[in-house]
Symmetry: C2
Subunit: 200 residues, 2 copies
DNA sequence: CCAAAATTGGACCTGCAAGTCCAAAGTCCG
DNA sequence: CGGACTTTGGACTTGCAGGTCCAATTTTGG
């Protein structure tokens, strides 16, 4: 159905999404006007509505997809290879580094409130992200259990759920307080707790 | 300076704040118009700007304060009396119950994005809430350490930070997925881990 | 090379929600 | 009771951001 995109069109569309994403990260969802996106990407209103007929909401949705994918990509290749304690630590370090650099600019935070409530599609994107994220963590835990580095009695799904929640909260607290301490504490204590489980 | 409020005025102001808070909880920050608040509280535009001269932003700030206080009040008297394991469990249950009932309606989520970025004052309110919350948890941990129910080697501040982050993330995941599982997992696993610390 | 379709620019429209204003009504206190 | 205030209602103004429209241009595929 959306087969009517030439190479140039595809490029323009991508430029719009990337530009809008950057703008949103920088200033927040509800501070970004279509005009800002136009200026920042060198496009016209005609193009915006050509590629996103439903207007702002559709654009925001595309941005959300883009950002959700980015969140997981930024954790690779660590996230998919949680197969040893050093690997876990490397992942932990990557998370800290990434969010420290990102600071107050959370791309998805606003999307929960802004589009999340009214657009079920946005909700689905965030939910999907969380599900994929948690699945990756679960797999890491399972692998560590298979090598005996984490006790078999640990409920991998539940532990992954808790760790994911901790990360989300850590990031949220980074957003509101500007300090990385919470994220660090959660990661270290949770991972330590998993590590400890094998010792008894 | 704001000494020019008769009893009737005070009541009206409170009615506006409470009504706006309810409306925001129900429909989200950026879906609520001043007209909605007027309709819902039986007030006129004149009154809104009489009590909140700076307009919407000032009203939102008052609502944020109101809601932040409520968050902690809803956890009392448990939160201030984390002095035994049953007490901790009671607190845990209260949290689950409260957020289960609240469901998708988070009063403060939007305030981070909406007012948080532009209004440092809103940021301060959220930060203050988190700080008070964490302090209460820390105190609970310290008390349990004094009775030997939690190992002395545990860093109370750090543990409290991690637990708070877990709770925030659990609530966030409740908002996006609609499931309480994450919050439950975080609370149970973290509390268990604290409990376990005393056994070694 | 040429028609059909995609792409682009930008002027214009429109609705809405925040904010202004002021006059009428009520309240307070000596 | 009376004058000075707070409180209230609601009509009006304003700016702005999202969305519409269409004509000009470029690209595509046969």
């Amino acid at each position: 159905m959306t087969r009517a995109l030439t190479r140039k069109g595809e490029a323009t569309r991508a430029r719009i999404v990337a530009g809008a994403a950057a703008e949103i990260r920088e200033r927040g969802v509800d501070e970004v006007r279509l005009e800002d996106v136009m200026a920042h990407t060198g496009t016209s209103k005609g193009q915006l509505f050509h590629y996103f007929p439903a207007g702002k909401e559709e654009l925001l949705l595309a941005v959300a997809e883009h950002e959700a994918d980015q969140v997981l990509l930024d954790q690779e290749p660590m996230l998919s290879n949680l197969t040893s304690w050093p690997a876990w630590v490397a992942w932990r370090d990557r998370l800290i580094e990434r969010y420290l650099a990102q600071g107050v600019k959370c791309p998805l935070n606003g999307l929960l409130g802004q589009t999340g409530r009214r657009a079920p599609a946005a909700q689905a994107i965030v939910t999907g992200l969380m599900w994929r994220w948690q699945a990756a963590i679960t797999e890491g835990i399972r692998h560590m259990q298979s090598t005996g580095d984490i006790a078999a009695r640990v409920d991998a799904d539940r532990a992954a759920a808790a760790l994911l929640a901790g990360i989300q909260g850590g990031v949220l607290l980074l957003l509101s307080t500007g300090k990385i301490d919470h994220l660090e504490a959660v990661l270290d204590l949770t991972i330590d707790s998993l590590r400890e489980s094998a010792r008894t």
